[in-house]
Symmetry: C3
Subunit: 338 residues, 3 copies
């Protein structure tokens, strides 16, 4: 719990009304319960929030005589971000530590304190789950998995054997961690499978969205480094090493044995070829395709990707070529005659 | 139930045999039961259908003395489409309203008449499910969700809290509705999470395929408009607003806060940048990438997308450039010398 | 069981130590149990493996006095691949044939010998499951499905009605087989659905990764041919016919009614337009888009794809154009003036 006055200090805002009101969470006014702070973007929101159960309204334009405590800030979204992250650190575990009787937990599994396990979840042999961790309904966690403290797995996730997941990790529904990597060697009319003998290591503070696939390694582990965040529907192939605080937007595909260094940012739909090495602080635009060695601090765009400054030049020339299409065609054909 | 004679009127066809035969459904002859109509594409199909349990064969070429009632039409696929959609409107709910005893339904959930709930499904607190709705096996529907009448959720779907789904909606397996949007702000060596405080609204008559991700909104709801259809493996990011009767083929990604207006059609694999505004009746070719403001009725292709007419000119020039590669190279190098 | 001496013959290696040691499996030294062979890539691995429970270490550089039986080979990965595939053929079914009491199996379902069914799995009416097949936890297999011998379905898979899956097939978690294809016909302000009346046939020896979508056919079945392998997050649309021993890397999308002939290989993220016909032994580079008719043995790259030799020429010209950007711009503008 934190008071509105304390929030005001945190976000450099001004309180109107009772600043001693305690705040327990943040919510849209549509769902806000007593004790929640909310935000308003418009006059309509302001009116609706007045009738809601919210305890405090955060706004850029305070009004007189409002029936709730008001907190006026300069940048609404920034204030919400600061407040949310501060409250997250203060907060305890996401769920009460209840183990649903319909869950199936192997006798050899070791559960920490206050672990929550949802309906029909399956926990395999020798799997360890840390304190305050929560496993959602219908998750299947296979054998010899290690899950850290305060880690939150949403419903319908599959974690294969020997995967290691750190502390304070969040994984959203439908994500599959540790399925076999794709390794096949055609020889004559037969296709040999390359065994996928290693597993996946997900370090602390990682967030992984929904319906992702993070494959187990073949001869070394696949690694997602501390603090990295992955959106939805991404493919992280076998043996990939992702550094710390890397941001990967939706629908990116990182092919086998690629490495991505710290603080790099990928827009949505980026493809990375196998064995590609991407440096630190690289930025890659949406739907680009990269390969080879990408040095620190590069900014790339396109398929295949070029430096963004080069891409813009190419785009400019192409636009000119389209405009003067007929003359250019003549020129090339004449040139060819010579 | 409808008779073959009634179908003949609907699709402008000619009946051979007993036109009073009742038809209850449409099926491939391989699976057809008594009362099902079927279609045949070849002489082999015709022969096999004769031995099946089907009650009526729809074909473009009727034959004498066939053992089943025959309905001859000009355009087979068109006839099937008309018939299927007409029967769909006539039909009652997809499933008998049985609630499997293995399902877990919160006491505060409110179920309409004739609701079907599959094995091991989980229904959260205060969730409302409309009349004749059906929730598949192993679905997890969180708290405060609203699901309309006649809506059909296939197995293994996750719907997060506060999502609103309208009437006559169909959602296929593996789709995740309402997971957090991807919002992170790196500051120094820390990454702040932007809270995702709003939810998802899916309007009436929407169809959503398998393994999609439709994220909850951050500061406004994500909206899928009435009658829109989404194929498989698509990413609809936070705050996206999709209009009415929009068609989105597989593997499209619509980034945060983009808006797509009514009747627009996306080929497969299209990427839409964040905050892009797409007008009405726009058509975008497969795997294109669009950004900025796209006006009504535009037809676009490419990555990044151009007007399709411009793209074709560019393709023509590129083809010429490849053909006269050596001379063109010389020309550019000579030009550079001057 | 096989001895190290027998393995040495298989992979053309040299044994140091007790060659009569029996080997039951392959594992990373980190997880190896007694009876497992392991591989080492480095001096550190070698030291750690010495302390593990492994029975045999495969390496390119044997050392004197090592506490485990050692098998020295020229090419470590090749040796592992050969050994793994040989052991796979020798091995029995993946799991003990146990049917978990929490599984729900329709009375009319027909199970072969030694079938394993995981927790909370649902098996529909008239579904047949072959000898030694294994269905993972939380799978939903609908009615009238046929699953062959020795086939392995991992947890959280959905298989819709009438799907046929052959022998020795492996499917990873989150994959959806047989959801409706995407067929809609807009007419005026209404959208008609094209019925998806057929199903999916998956032939023997196919491997399908995680979170894929393989849609049921509309008027003919969707077919995945014998021995083909599909990575993760792919979309195989309705009516697609994939030949034998085709390799499809992650995130590929094959649109409706396309055909892919035997031994063709797709890199990751390839898109194939609807009704495209791809010949045998074709190779398509990552993220390419192909359409029309692709002849046998072609090697393609790009979006839209060209022959890879043409693509390289175009890339070379583009690079020159970027380098001499200013002069080229002048040239085109002067040309336009004439």
């Amino acid at each position: 719990m934190i008071t509105v006055n304390q929030i005001a200090q945190l976000v450099n805002g001004t309180v109107m009304g009772d600043g001693d009101v305690p705040v327990k969470g943040l919510a849209s006014y549509k769902y806000a319960e007593e004790g929640d702070a909310t935000f308003v973007l418009s006059a309509e929101d302001l009116e609706a929030a007045a009738k809601s159960d919210t305890s405090c309204v955060i706004t850029t334009e305070a009004v007189e005589g409002y029936p709730k405590t008001m907190l006026q800030v300069k940048d609404l979204k920034e204030a919400i971000v600061i407040l949310y992250n501060a409250m997250r650190e203060m907060k305890g575990p996401a769920k009460k530590g209840e183990i649903d009787p319909s869950a199936s937990i192997a006798e050899s599994a070791i559960l920490g304190k206050n672990v929550a396990i949802g309906k029909n979840a399956v926990i395999g042999e020798n799997t360890r789950i840390g304190d305050n961790a929560s496993i959602g309904a219908n998750c299947v966690i296979e054998k010899d998995v290690s899950i850290g403290n305060n880690t939150l797995l949403h419903p319908n996730i599959v974690v294969y054997d020997h995967v290691t997941i750190g502390n304070n990790v969040t994984i959203f529904s439908g994500t599959i961690i540790g399925a076999d990597g794709f390794g096949f060697v055609p020889k004559g009319d037969k296709i040999y499978k390359v065994p996928q003998l290693c597993s996946v290591v997900i370090e602390d503070d990682v967030e992984i969205g929904a319906n992702n696939c993070i494959d187990r390694g073949a001869f070394t582990d696949t690694v997602i480094g501390k603090g990295s965040k992955i959106d939805n529907l991404c493919q992280i192939a076998h043996n990939v090493k992702i550094g710390k605080n890397v941001l990967i937007a939706g629908m990116c595909g990182i092919a086998g044995s690629a490495t991505i260094d710290d603080n790099t940012i990928f827009g949505a739909g980026v493809g990375v070829s196998d064995h590609t090495r991407v440096g630190k602080n690289v930025k890659v635009g949406a739907k680009s395709g990269i390969t080879g060695v990408i040095h620190d601090n590069e900014v790339l765009f396109g398929y295949p990707a070029r430096k963004v400054s080069d891409f813009k030049k190419l785009w400019g020339i192409e636009t000119l070529m389209i405009k003067h299409y007929k003359k250019l065609k003549e020129l090339i054909l004449n040139m060819a005659k010579d």
